[in-house]
């Protein structure tokens, strides 16, 4: 996994972007966090949060011009959150305002000219950092403009309490100290000689001409000027049109940061992109929130009571994206969001010695891509997880058991037991090639035959049949080489068949083949079944209420989704939509997630199953069988086309792993015999089993096939190597490759064995 790509993915996830309020605030007060604390009645934490960005908490909470409130997204659902009043409540009820502390001592001294908010803010920050700071103000008191405000707006006690920090930090104050250009001890020239740096913050009305011969230019990011070692900011920078206390405060803080960096010889421009008021990039869906008016304080003069503040703070949503997490059980499971997941996954891959705790998480994603669909920035966790799996395989760090069973199943489907390719009987060439896929053949082999015969009737020029696997399991397992080899072998067969147009029945095959075999023309089965030629062949199917579950692998592919709806309409079936078109969810089979994390995929299916009481219509065999496993009634669209409702196909159980393989093998031999007149060479096994449903379920959960059980008993009966249990049963063991199987059984009459239990392990014991 490429580190550069990791950073791109991280940057794509916007969940950690500042919410609108903090982004708009020039010093990025975390108003969202503050509101969360207040809503819980925790005013102490709220005050700490406020003080994290504000060194003059009493003053700013009273007179801030709160650009945050104009930006607040509550504006779109009622009134904006009254953040200013919440700040005052945090100060009023948050307990002691923590006093500022000086950290160490720096050798340099700095002069601040102008005792307004900007100058005072710069003085405080530089004094905290350990500089010797002297503050020059021409008026008798600091903050002369604020002192002119009425007591109701800003009590003088608040000013005095905040300013006490200055003396506490050891800043030297010079009041009634007019600074001029080059006249006397307190001239700017003299200050620039005496001090290492000077910050000029004399207000919009300050007479610059008193100081300078040439016009002063101020850099809006670093607050440096065209005079060396002279920094400037506050309303003299942003103008007199609108006085903004918070902007003046910002200037003081950021100028102090520049002065500190300048005196330490650090870069003045590095990492300042997030400085100052800006637009938020955090997407927040506000549609679920009912409009609510602002809470009014019973006594406007005093401000909010605790209860009123809590109520008002509770109107904060709070802003958050989480669009992908809301729709995905997998992303929800690990209690975070993609930006964090990407880092966790990358770190997991980078572990050289130690336990890779993230392996299971990487293998639990169904790779369905719904996250990307709903993400405002189109970030895909599927891409991340697939890339991670490929890296794990390449570095030999993929747990061996993770996908072994699924890959064995794929090997079965690509092997002689199932794989074949034929021209239509009586044809020497194929204009078309039907590719039903391994899962439809495993779940509903009879529909494969019906479909094939229908296609032979409605499509001219010969319809060939190709039984095989599309390679999706190898792709999903991160086995890039195996997948590419398989794609190449499929293409080879396709060329040998005369490069026909391919018609696929399975959505996963459709996507896998389309994305990886661009030269092969791929059609979905559904437009063909919805065509004029096919209509006369389909029966009416009506009755119960239905809801449509689209498979995730053809999500948003309109030729597929529209044909399916067209077909349903022609059959008189009303199918309710389960989600906005193009946002269907995965059934849990995708990405082989079920093999890595069956509990999670069960949750995923149950969540989907609960969305509607109606029977589901789907057109992917795996989706149908996943629902069946959870007891959710679901039909495959082909059940409707070919069966009619008499047989109640929605109640059909999942065939299970063993039966799936058997169905594929039987389908092949049946079709070869019936359509091509080739006598099957598949020998049916001699050993007959009795397996109760309970034992069958245990085997299914432990991913033990009947063929594994058969081989184990056959090996034991052949060699005589078996144990006799105290209950009279036999226990056979067999290790054909990496897995050791144990089977408890009794040989029955006529060779029919009764199976009582089966289990397996991978450790070798000697």
């Amino acid at each position: 996994m490429d580190g550069q790509r990791v950073r791109q993915w991280e940057a794509q996830c916007i969940q950690e972007q500042l919410p609108a309020c903090s982004a708009a605030c020039p010093v990025h007060v975390d108003a969202r966090k503050m509101a969360r604390s207040i809503a819980k009645g925790d005013f102490g934490t709220a005050l700490k949060t406020f003080q994290h960005s504000i060194t003059l908490p009493r003053i700013i909470s009273h007179i801030c011009d709160h650009p945050c409130q104009q930006a607040c997204r509550r504006n779109e659902a009622g009134d904006p959150v009254n953040i200013g009043a919440l700040e005052r409540a945090a100060v009023a009820f948050g307990g002691n305002v923590a006093s500022l502390r000086r950290f160490g001592t720096r050798p340099h001294s700095v002069a601040i000219v102008g005792g307004g908010i900007s100058g005072v803010a710069a003085t405080l920050d530089l004094a905290v950092k350990g500089y010797t700071v002297e503050l020059f103000e021409s008026a008798p008191n600091l903050l002369p403009r604020l002192r002119s405000a009425s007591e109701g707006v800003l009590p003088s006690s608040a000013i005095d309490a905040d300013l006490a920090s200055l003396a506490h930090l050891g800043a030297v104050l010079h009041s009634r100290a007019s600074v001029t250009h080059n006249d006397g001890e307190t001239s700017l020239c003299a200050l620039l000689q005496r001090f290492s740096a000077v910050y000029l913050a004399i207000g919009a009305e300050g007479e610059l001409t008193r100081f300078l011969e040439a016009p002063l230019t101020i850099d809006p990011v670093t607050y440096t000027t065209n005079v060396p070692r002279l920094f400037a900011g506050g309303s003299m920078r942003y103008g007199s049109a609108r006085y903004s206390p918070i902007t003046s405060f910002q200037d003081g803080r950021y100028a102090a940061l520049s002065i500190d960096r300048f005196l330490q010889g650090a870069s003045l421009t590095a990492s300042r992109e997030l400085q100052g008021s800006q637009e938020s990039h955090l997407y927040t869906d506000i549609t679920p929130f009912e409009p609510l008016p602002q809470v009014a304080a019973a006594d406007a003069g005093i401000g909010y009571t605790r209860e009123e503040a809590q109520k008002e703070a509770d109107r904060c949503f709070p802003c958050s994206c989480m669009e992908c997490v809301k729709v995905c059980e997998y992303l929800k499971e690990y209690r975070s969001y993609p930006k964090r997941y990407v880092r966790e996954i990358y770190n997991n891959l980078c572990i050289v010695m130690g336990v890779r705790n993230g392996n299971r998480m990487i293998n639990s994603c169904s790779l369905c891509g719904l996250c990307q669909q709903v993400c405002p920035e189109k970030m895909s966790m599927a891409e991340v997880c697939l890339d991670a799996r490929q890296t794990m395989v390449a570095t030999k760090k993929m747990p061996v058991s993770a996908h072994e069973f699924a890959l064995r199943d794929m090997a079965f489907s690509t092997g002689d037991a199932f794989a074949t390719a034929r021209h239509q009987p009586g044809f020497q060439e194929s204009a078309w090639l039907f590719f039903p896929g391994c899962q439809l053949s495993a779940s509903s082999p009879e529909h494969v035959q019906s479909c094939y015969q229908l296609l032979c009737e409605i499509r001219k020029g010969g319809v060939g049949l190709m039984l095989n696997c599309c390679g999706a399991p190898a792709l999903w397992a991160g086995r890039k080489e195996l997948f590419e080899e398989h794609c190449a072998s499929l293409k080879q067969i396709w060329r040998q068949m005369g490069q026909p147009k391919v018609i696929v029945a399975c959505s996963s095959c459709f996507r896998t083949l389309k994305e990886n075999s661009s030269e092969v023309p791929i059609d979905s089965l559904w437009p063909h079944l919805n065509s004029k030629e096919a209509i006369k062949l389909r029966p009416q199917f009506a009755g119960r209420p239905y809801a449509i579950h689209d498979p995730c692998s053809t999500r948003g592919v309109s030729e597929v989704e529209d044909s399916v709806r067209g077909l349903l309409q022609r059959m008189g079936v009303q199918g309710k939509e389960l989600n906005p078109r193009g946002q269907t969810t995965c059934c849990g089979y995708g990405g082989l997630a079920r093999f890595a994390n069956p509990e999670l995929t069960d949750k995923t299916v149950r969540r989907r199953a609960k969305q509607s009481e109606a029977d589901y219509i789907t057109y992917c065999a795996m989706c149908r069988d996943s629902f069946a496993r959870q007891g959710k009634r679901a039909v495959h669209l082909l059940d409707m086309v070919f069966e009619g409702q008499g047989k109640d196909p929605a109640a059909r159980p999942d065939p299970g792993f063993s039966r799936r393989q058997e169905n594929r093998a039987r389908l092949k031999s049946h079709l070869l015999e019936e359509l091509w007149g080739e006598k099957s060479e598949v020998s049916m096994p001699e050993l007959i089993f009795q397996i109760s449903e309970a034992v069958r379920q245990v085997m299914e959960r432990r991913m033990i096939l009947e063929s594994d059980v058969r081989k184990t008993i056959e090996a034991a009966e052949r060699s005589g190597q078996k144990f006799k249990l105290p209950n009279g049963h036999f226990l056979a063991t067999h290790c054909p490759a990496s897995v050791t199987y144990w089977v408890e059984y009794t040989p029955g009459a006529n060779g029919a064995c009764e199976i009582y239990n089966a289990y397996s392990h991978r450790m070798q014991v000697r």
Partner: protein
């Protein structure tokens, strides 16, 4: 890895091939290059070791998974 207590109480199994009762013995479990001594029932004749279900689906499975994540 140690043998689960419950297994020690099980009545001994008989190896049909050797017609011998299994005896408890120190054996070695191996996975991905890691070795663990463990006491299990073993046929004194052919040497085949019995791995009980509770061990295979319990502790052994957990150790296998932990080793695969290493």
């Amino acid at each position: 890895m140690t043998t689960q207590e419950e297994n020690t109480n099980e009545a001994p199994l008989v190896c049909c091939k050797c017609d011998k009762t299994l005896v408890k013995e120190q054996v070695t479990a191996t996975y991905l290059g890691n070795e663990f001594p463990i006491e299990l029932w073993k046929c004194p004749g052919c040497g085949v070791v019995y791995v009980p279900e509770s061990l295979a689906t319990g502790k052994m499975l957990r150790v296998e998974q932990a080793l695969e994540d290493k």
